[in-house]
Subunit: 204 residues, 2 copies
């Protein structure tokens, strides 16, 4: 229903072009700010042809959002309760920062959605994200109780990791303006800084 009917090669190709274009537009303008004209133009299709592949603007957006949460949560899923605590957290920070570098549009799509009250993904957040965060928070709390990690309220620790890493995607324009960078070299500086920050904070 919210899925493209792609099957033939040409349908596959066009569906992908549409989703790629839609990601570009939705991530920059939010749902209401985006227009089918912009998406059609970027996808190289006419507007009616766009609506041959997806029944509505809603459906295009839904298709993008659907795949998003999984990608977004995978780095946290990988946090291994059996690993070395400090290194596990640092590896998580690195994975999350990499997402910001490699998928900034997805990050902004997500940010737009949350910022506007998360009308389309709130249930996924309470149903899927919250349990995962609670589970991993328990792991972190256990590490802290065992003295293998300096104590810090786990949920807020996780929030801080989300915030500091996603900032480089969501506030990209501002980061570049302040640093005066054209390229992406601030990502490795950011990684260095964040690793130092969390290592100092969390080493017992």
């Amino acid at each position: 229903m919210t899925r493209p009917r792609a099957q033939t090669r040409i349908q596959q190709k066009n569906s992908e072009a549409i989703l790629e274009a839609a990601l570009e537009v939705f991530s920059q303008s939010g749902f209401r700010g985006a227009t089918l004209d912009q998406i059609a133009e970027k996808a190289g299709l006419s507007k009616p042809n766009l609506l041959y592949y997806f029944p509505s603007k809603e459906a295009i957006h839904a298709a993008l959002i659907a795949g998003l949460l999984k990608v977004w949560l995978d780095p946290l899923r990988e946090l291994d309760a059996g690993g070395e605590p400090v290194e596990e957290i640092l590896a998580y920070v690195r994975r999350k920062l990499q997402l910001s570098r490699d998928f900034p549009r997805e990050s902004r799509l997500f940010a737009n959605e949350i910022l506007q009250g998360a009308p389309r993904i709130l249930e996924a957040i309470t149903g899927e994200l919250k349990p995962l965060v609670d589970e991993k928070s328990a792991v972190i709390a256990k590490w802290m109780a065992e003295g293998r990690l300096a104590p810090l309220e786990p949920h807020h620790l996780i929030f801080s990791i989300w915030a500091t890493t996603q900032h480089y995607a969501d506030f990209d324009v501002q980061v570049r303006a302040v640093l005066g960078h054209e390229d992406d070299r601030h990502f490795s500086q950011a990684e260095e800084a964040l690793v130092i920050l969390y290592r100092r904070t969390l080493t017992p």
Copy 2:
């Protein structure tokens, strides 16, 4: 030109009602997503009457944005080069978190603007924010060189403070969903966690 012509008491009152309503709507939907109908409705005025006070949608948005950057930068301006380094930074973190608690809509208005490419405030960012950040980064770098603060690239330290504090306003919906909170008690937890985090990281 972008300013309301408010002079009489009734004009004053209506202008304020409009800006209040506009803040609500723009901060939730972004510029393009917001409609004059919504703003008029919330302000308790008819749409034409709205446009009697402000010449256009652009003008209302501009009036909001105009006051924003100052409020946003004041906490950083107060960072005192003559103060005790660690305490100065922590006080800055607290001020910034307070802004998120007390003015979440302003934070989201700003976030929306940046997220969408900052078309209306990029020049203010390069012209006003960047110099201030550079100046305060120099102060922080000096503190670090003197051994009064543990070393950490100052720009990225500032980014991390922005990110972690603004997160509680911009991603409010997500924070509440994850914590299961109805009230604002997570703000004091957040303050505690962030103060611990930055104190550990920055104490030499």
